[in-house]
């Protein structure tokens, strides 16, 4: 079959708006569009209910004040301080303010929150969330047992069914069409039969999640390979603040599955080999509920100094004093994870844990309307939107607080839906022209992998990438490790250019798609390492052993990594500061 014949046969679907990804951000945006009567489609490489929003456990913070006094302004402050002052404060203010109506809206949609004795939404403590600007922990996290994300995902999908949202399940988006500075649609790959489909749309939203699979030990699903970030990056959109990646303190040893911070919110304690509550030395006020970057570093320090359990590379999360009732009612899922994956009974035994790569603070730069911006002046790229972990607003700055990710996807997912509605209406329904033969460039890339008879195994490249990133670009970084990683990425990239697959079929060829995904991870890693090498300070999740202090004089700014020959070009843009001037960060 000639390329021209294939191109002529490529189906073209027309929608006012196309959303890529069906987690919390994508679903809420879709709901907003459906309620506003905008013809929209949601594309997901999974089924919507498989999205990783469903794995979020502990809760979603909002200053409801149901159990004790609380204010959105305190939440805003905690978010900014937690992010080590790299947070854009206008965005953090929106996040904290709209948290309250967002949680109520979820309840109105039917989300089964845990309740207080008087029937209100129950709330519990979470890391870094405090009353009165850091005085003491506050009960701010609304939750549904330890499956809050599952309930959010289910509830939003239920509402999408109710409102007739159109889904393309198991369509893997493989290109975004941007020409002449205007977004024109996407190309999707139908996993069921291997066909390419062009989606022409005036508004394209990426809600594709993170890229934790670039690290060996991660809480992230196999599907979190940075697809949206990499596709945008390849089309000239920069990636912002990629050097900031969060390692969550409490992952299951060896496999990284998350044990929620809610375990510590309910009173769980971290202990070293001698049984000492070591967080007393690192964060005397917040103790085990200090922000994740501090706790993860503290765990590594204990391990380095030989105080890991039995001198090994993990410590204990002790829940044994909480009692069976609290554990069964409030932490049922995570204690089951410990039983299934470690053979540990948390009611009677401490749980071995180690930090696990968890969350990308960086991503596709957007403004507070979730419109993608592409330069130092925050100029909008017409027709492109992003929200959730793939985006960088930035509400998380250099380190995200627990529960703020669920909040982020919902607040800015909804804002994306509203912005798309506005822009679609302003265009009077006219769709942008498609580029000539829009599916052909990516068809060439895919066919090259599918038909190459011999070459590199993409999974070997992924395993090497993930191991090296863990060692050289993980919790601790130095000039040397980052330069080593830069060289290694060049080598892995060269090998990737020769990737081959054994499965040359068209129906459900997951080997081919996994090979594509490794390419996305390499792109995200490239931007991460370049930005990390350039940033000669330590802030939040980015810790440079050779530059251990925060340096506001030179580095209170966001990085922007642009794809270029021979490695990314880095530019910088200022942080928006409104109410809270940077201060030393102690807990």
């Amino acid at each position: 079959m000639s390329a021209a014949a294939t191109a002529a046969q490529t189906p073209v679907h027309e929608y006012q708006a196309v959303i890529v990804g069906a987690g919390g951000a994508g679903l809420w945006a879709a709901l907003e569009l459906a309620r506003n009567g905008v013809k929209a489609a949601v594309l997901t490489k999974l089924y919507p209910t498989r999205s990783h929003t469903g794995a979020a456990q502990g809760g979603i913070c909002a200053a409801l004040g149901n159990l004790e006094e609380d204010k959105p302004e305190w939440h805003m402050y905690d978010t900014i301080k937690g992010g080590d002052y790299l947070v854009d404060q206008d965005a953090a203010e929106i996040l904290a303010q709209e948290a309250v109506e967002t949680v109520y809206a979820l309840e109105h949609m039917g989300l089964p929150f845990n309740r207080t004795p008087d029937g209100k939404i129950d709330q519990r403590r979470f890391g870094g969330h405090t009353r009165n600007f850091g005085e003491a922990p506050v009960k701010r996290a609304c939750y549904a047992a330890d499956r809050t994300g599952h309930m959010i995902l289910q509830t939003l999908y239920q509402q999408c069914i109710k409102h007739g949202v159109e889904f393309f399940d198991e369509y893997h988006v493989v290109d975004v069409l941007i020409e002449g500075g205007v977004t024109r649609g996407v190309v999707g790959y139908c996993i069921a039969d291997g066909s390419l489909h062009v989606f022409r749309a005036g508004a394209v939203m990426f809600a594709t999640g993170g890229f934790g699979r670039m690290f060996k030990i991660t809480s992230n699903a196999f599907s979190l390979t940075g697809d949206g970030c990499a596709l945008a990056y390849r089309r000239g959109v920069p990636l912002e603040d990629m050097e900031f990646f969060q390692f969550h303190p409490t992952g299951i040893v060896g496999i990284g599955i998350l044990l929620s911070e809610a375990a510590r919110g309910e009173g769980g304690i971290l202990r070293n080999d001698s049984g000492e509550r070591f967080m007393e030395r690192y964060a005397p006020t917040m103790l085990d509920l200090a922000p994740r970057d501090l706790v993860s570093r503290a765990i590594y320090m204990e391990i380095r100094e030989g105080r890991g359990i039995g001198g090994k590379d993990y410590v204990h999360l002790d829940l044994t004093h909480l009692g069976k009732k609290v554990i069964d009612e409030k932490l049922p899922d995570i204690t089951e994870f410990a039983r299934v994956y470690q053979g540990i009974e948390p009611i009677t035994q401490p749980v071995p844990i180690q930090p696990t790569a968890h969350y990308a603070m960086g991503g596709i730069p957007t403004n507070v309307e979730a419109r993608v911006v592409f330069d130092e002046k925050n100029t909008v790229l017409p027709g492109l939107y992003a929200a959730g972990e793939c985006a960088c607003v930035s509400v998380h700055g250099a380190n995200r607080l627990g529960t703020n990710s669920l909040l982020d996807i919902l607040v800015f997912g909804r804002r994306a839906g509203r912005a798309m509605t506005e822009d679609v209406r302003a265009s009077n329904g006219e769709l942008p022209e498609l580029p000539a033969a829009p599916a052909e460039p990516v068809r060439g890339e895919i066919e090259a992998i599918r038909t190459r008879s011999r070459g590199e195994n993409a999974q070997h490249i992924r395993v090497e990438l993930a191991a090296a990133m863990m060692d050289d670009c993980g919790v601790f970084r130095t000039t040397q490790t980052l330069m080593d990683m830069t060289r290694r990425l060049r080598d892995l990239g060269a090998r990737y250019a020769n990737v081959a697959v054994k499965d040359s079929g068209r129906i459900f060829n997951t080997e081919l798609l996994e090979a594509r995904e490794v390419g996305y991870l390499l792109d995200c890693a490239e931007a991460t390492v370049a930005a990390a090498l350039a940033r000669t300070e330590s802030r939040g999740g980015h810790f440079r052993e050779d530059f251990p202090e925060r340096n506001d004089t030179d580095w209170l700014k966001h990085s922007l990594a642009y794809r270029a020959e021979g490695g990314p070009d880095l530019k910088y843009k200022p942080v928006t500061i409104t109410k809270f001037q940077p201060k030393p960060r102690t807990y």
Binding site: G54, Y104, N114, R115, I161, F222, I507, F508, T510
Partner: protein, 233 residues
């Protein structure tokens, strides 16, 4: 240790019917079946095809029949199964390729029970609806469902009558029928009172064994059944 792994394979572009293939896989006792499948796919045969995503039992992608029972591949360990492990697609479902089955009908049945809150009252402004701890507890069990299809495809009534709406859809109806905030239990109960509804359940309990979330599915079906008797007709 070495595991003797047998996998039912079917490539629609080459095969006319499914066949079994054997692999000898190096394994640790705490490995999950998903780890074994990945080892085969990444090292021996890239064409081995299965769905998976979260790899810790919450996304519901990798339900399959393992040693004769429906399990999530990411939630069942080698030491629970022994050295001989057989893996096949979910029974009673149309096979697309290897361990991947067609989920369209399953999701269509889920949608058919109106699985979303329908409340007639306007919700309060800038506040939540109240619900007591007891009212919340009433439907807690059925909120755990991850729509993996392990239960429905384990059900002999479903195998015999593919039109049967199936345990998963009933579980998701239960979640709303018993939610104190919902006002439209009647419509759902009418749907489930149909000849392809709850009456098809023969209380065989395969679904309870299959559920990776530990939901007491048969009890939920019986409760829906009882509700039809009380208020559904």
């Amino acid at each position: 240790m070495q595991v003797d792994l047998r996998v039912q394979r079917f490539d629609p572009e080459r095969d006319s019917k499914p066949h079994w293939e054997r692999y000898t896989v190096q394994s640790e006792p705490m490995d999950r079946v998903l780890d074994l499948l990945h080892r085969v796919k990444w090292e021996a045969d890239g064409s081995l095809t299965f769905r998976r995503s979260c790899a810790h039992g919450v996304c519901g992608s990798d339900a399959m029949m393992i040693n004769g029972r429906n399990r999530l591949a990411c939630k069942i360990r080698v030491d629970q199964l022994g050295r001989k492990i057989s893996v096949a697609p979910l029974p009673g479902m149309k096979v697309i390729k290897d361990l991947v089955v067609d989920m369209d009908e399953f999701f269509a049945k889920y949608r058919s029970v109106m699985p979303y809150l329908m409340a007639d009252d306007e919700p309060p402004v800038n506040a939540e609806r109240h619900q007591s701890v007891h009212e919340r507890e009433r439907y807690d069990d059925t909120t755990k469902c991850i729509l993996c299809a392990a239960c429905t495809s384990s059900c002999p009534s479903f195998w015999a009558q593919p039109e049967y709406v199936g345990p998963a859809a009933i579980v998701n109806a239960h979640r709303f029928v018993f939610d104190s905030r919902d006002d439209h239990a009647y419509e759902r109960l009418q749907i489930l009172a149909d000849q392809d509804g709850v009456w098809r359940c023969r209380t065989i309990f395969n679904c309870v064994d299959a559920c990776p979330r530990g939901i007491n599915i048969t009890r939920a079906i019986l409760e829906v059944n009882g509700a039809i008797g009380e208020r559904g007709r």
